[in-house]
Amino acid sequence: MDKKKRNTLLLVAALVVILGATVLIQAVSKPNDNASNDMGGNGTEDLVKNGMVAVIQQEGQVLMEVSLDEDRDFIVQHPTGGYNAIHVKDGKICVSDADCPDLTCVRTGNAYEEGQVIACLPHRLIIYIEQEK
């Protein structure tokens, strides 16, 4: 086999091993999390309080921290005009509407697990989930 092809195969193999290991480690390190989020689907009115907060940061400054255990809707305005409508329901947060050109933030959908991120780059907005302190 020619040398360049062999090198490429080695590179691909190395990357696959590294990425596979990373994904495995990530999956193994949070099974407890999923168990506590599982509401069992038995239709009880009581939502499991999982104590997650969403931190909303704009232009590098934290605007607010909202608990995901309380349903609410509000709008975050950007100083130069423009907005992101935020929707919190059933322990999940999402950007339900925005006037940014790409709407990536809306398409990202729900965030509910620790570490998850929703970003709206045109509005310099980032929403990330943390465990409540």
């Binding site: 360049k4 092809k5 090198n7 490429t8 590179l11 691909v12 990357l15 696959v16 990425l19 990373t22 994904v23 990530q26 940061q57 232009e59 590098g60 050109p101 790409d102 990536t104 933030c105 398409r107 990202t108 959908g109 570490g115 998850q116 991120v117 970003a119 780059l121 045109p122 310099r124 907005l125 980032i126 990330y128």
Partner: protein, 164 residues
């Protein structure tokens, strides 16, 4: 630049624009922002192998400008450039080193594009937490890079016969 080269670069730029448009029509996992097929890279890698990094950069720049003016804005142009610059730089270096074939070069380009955009995104929102999307984006860059690499290897080989 002779006439033939101008024509071929123009054609490949047009190809890159079309591929960029097709890519926009096919969303891949909207829950991971920035994940895309990387189709325009097919034209870029082809130019890189037919000519050199300079021509590849030219075609890439023209493509980003045209797609940006047609469907985006100044912000999307700058954001595309942040990925393209890193991707092109890495591919040019790798091609110079002559260690890998088109597949290796293209996959590093794919990963480099996502890397550049994550860094740009982190700078924009002033928060490194956007790295949450790092692993899925690297995986998609790897997969699409390999596929695009195989294709562009074939395209470059065939086009070389026509050019010479």
């Amino acid at each position: 630049m002779n006439i033939r080269k101008t024509a071929i670069l123009g054609m490949l730029s047009a190809g890159a624009v079309i591929l960029g448009y097709v890519e926009m029509l096919i969303p891949v996992m909207p829950s991971v922002p920035g994940m895309k097929l990387g189709l325009p890279n097919l034209a870029i890698v082809t130019v890189l192998y037919l000519y050199s990094a300079r021509e590849a950069a030219l075609v890439s720049f023209v493509r980003i400008l045209i797609i940006g003016f047609l469907f985006g804005n100044l912000f999307s142009i700058c954001f595309s450039l942040s990925g393209a610059v890193v991707s092109l730089l890495l591919m040019a270096i790798l091609k110079k080193l002559d260690l890998f074939d088109t597949v290796g070069v293209s996959l590093v380009g794919g990963i480099g594009h996502n890397l550049g955009q994550i860094v740009a995104a982190a700078c924009l929102v002033q928060n490194v937490r956007v790295a949450y999307y790092f692993v899925p984006l690297i995986i998609s860059g790897l997969v699409s890079g390999v596929l695009i690499g195989i294709l562009s290897g074939i395209v470059a080989k065939r086009m070389k016969k026509v050019i010479n």
